[in-house]
């Protein structure tokens, strides 16, 4: 029987090691998998590369992870979201490397990783300093910049409902980056509000089919004990 449910956050993050690249869902605080990110902090992993649209807000979630000094690098589009105290402090102290991409390029790079696309040309940013050092090409009289796939060792995402096959649905704008990150994670872990019986999700309205999901954990699952 296929059963992607895991009963603790330790089990959800099994195999995560220092130096890995984590794709973290969310736009602002909405759709951010807080419990999973707290578990990464608890697990003690460091030297991480974090891919996230923002750098977190306040002192929770991705912001807490950054504040704890666990990230070597942040790949994002808009680090200073609401209450950017942590990233402002890290930036002032030159304590983190930030790689900036246009938001659509950030998303499309992850899709490319999930879709077996070796790279693509986009107009976004082609005539700006964000294209410095990158391959440019004129296509039909317009300038494009070449961008490459961006996979994650882990994708940590938040969803609404799941079943044991890992099929997922989302709530309103909490969908945001989560489905595309699910496609791009070598290991994709979904923190969910609810787990329903197999067959209870309407097959016409599943947003992320289970093929993209490796583990499902309830948001209020116990921490569990790490084996590593």
């Amino acid at each position: 029987m296929i059963d992607k449910r895991v009963d603790s956050f330790a089990a959800a993050l099994a195999g995560m090691s220092d130096g890995m690249t984590l794709l973290c869902g969310g736009f602002g605080a909405v759709g951010e998998p807080f419990a999973l990110i707290e578990a990464v902090i608890a697990l003690g992993r460091r030297d991480l590369t974090i891919v996230c649209n923002n750098a977190g807000s306040g002192l929770v979630g991705v912001a807490a992870l950054l504040k704890a000094g666990r990230a070597r690098k942040l790949i994002c589009s808009y680090p200073r979201s609401s209450d950017p105290q942590v990233i402002d402090d890290l930036y002032a102290r030159h304590a983190i490397e930030i790689e900036l991409f246009p938001q659509g390029t950030l998303s499309e790079r992850m899709r490319a990783a999930g879709a077996g696309i070796g790279g693509f040309f986009t107009r976004a940013g082609a005539d700006t300093q964000l294209a410095h050092g990158k391959e440019l090409r004129e296509i039909d009289g317009k300038l494009y910049v070449f961008e490459t796939p961006l996979p994650g060792d882990f994708a940590l995402i938040k969803a609404y409902r799941a079943d044991r096959w890992g099929n997922l649905t989302y709530r309103k704008t909490a969908r945001n980056f989560n489905p595309v990150m699910a496609m791009a994670g070598k290991v994709t872990v979904a923190q969910v509000d609810e787990i329903v019986a197999l067959g209870a999700l309407d097959p016409e309205t599943i947003v992320t089919p289970g093929i993209f999901v490796d583990r499902v954990v309830l948001r209020d699952a116990p921490a569990g004990r790490s084996s590593g």
């Binding site: 736009f27 402002d88 659509g104 940013g125 704008t173 969908r175 945001n176």
Partner: protein, 222 residues
Amino acid sequence: MMLTRRQMAWRAAQDLREGQYVNLGIGLPTLVSDYLPPDREIVLHSENGILGMGGAPKPGEEDRDLINAGKGLATLRAGGAFFHHNDSFLMIRGGHIDLSIMGAYEVSASGDLANWATDSAALAPGVGGAMDLAAGAKEVRVLMEHNAKDGTPRIRTRCSLPLTAKACVTRVYTNLAVLDITEGGVGVREMIEGLDLEALQKLTEPKLMLANDWKRLTAPAL
């Protein structure tokens, strides 16, 4: 009289056309949604995955999972839809958004847009969806104060700040005027009462041309 921020947003809203798909940038442009012409059906796009976005929720109807691009609480109108970020930026890059209204630091006489990075080294720069919108929307309009706090013109011969995209802005709404960026130069469509071309020119770097059918820029008290 100089327009207030709300009056500037009101003015930009008056040009919206029936059936347009419109993306409003964070900050000042978000206020445009408060003044959508009631006789026209306009579909607001939010890059975090909404078409048919409505205004702020009434007290008691807030949903923390329903926010706009500025991370404020939002609502959905009948006919609206949710989708993921990748489809959202597919819409933007693919030319499906009729109009993007963004804030800016500077706009050049040739329509170059600078609205993401300042000279400041103190704060981490962020670009968000601005470059995708500037490159992909069918039309880009800017809503900004005519001058910086120290009086420096924000409509420039050439932008001094890092560009968001070249030659993309077609119209600028300021607290003093409505200006069209055309092949021939910067045209003044509207100016506020008490201002003449000479006075406006002093507040603007590139040479201005007064449209034959120019009008006074007025807005209701808001």
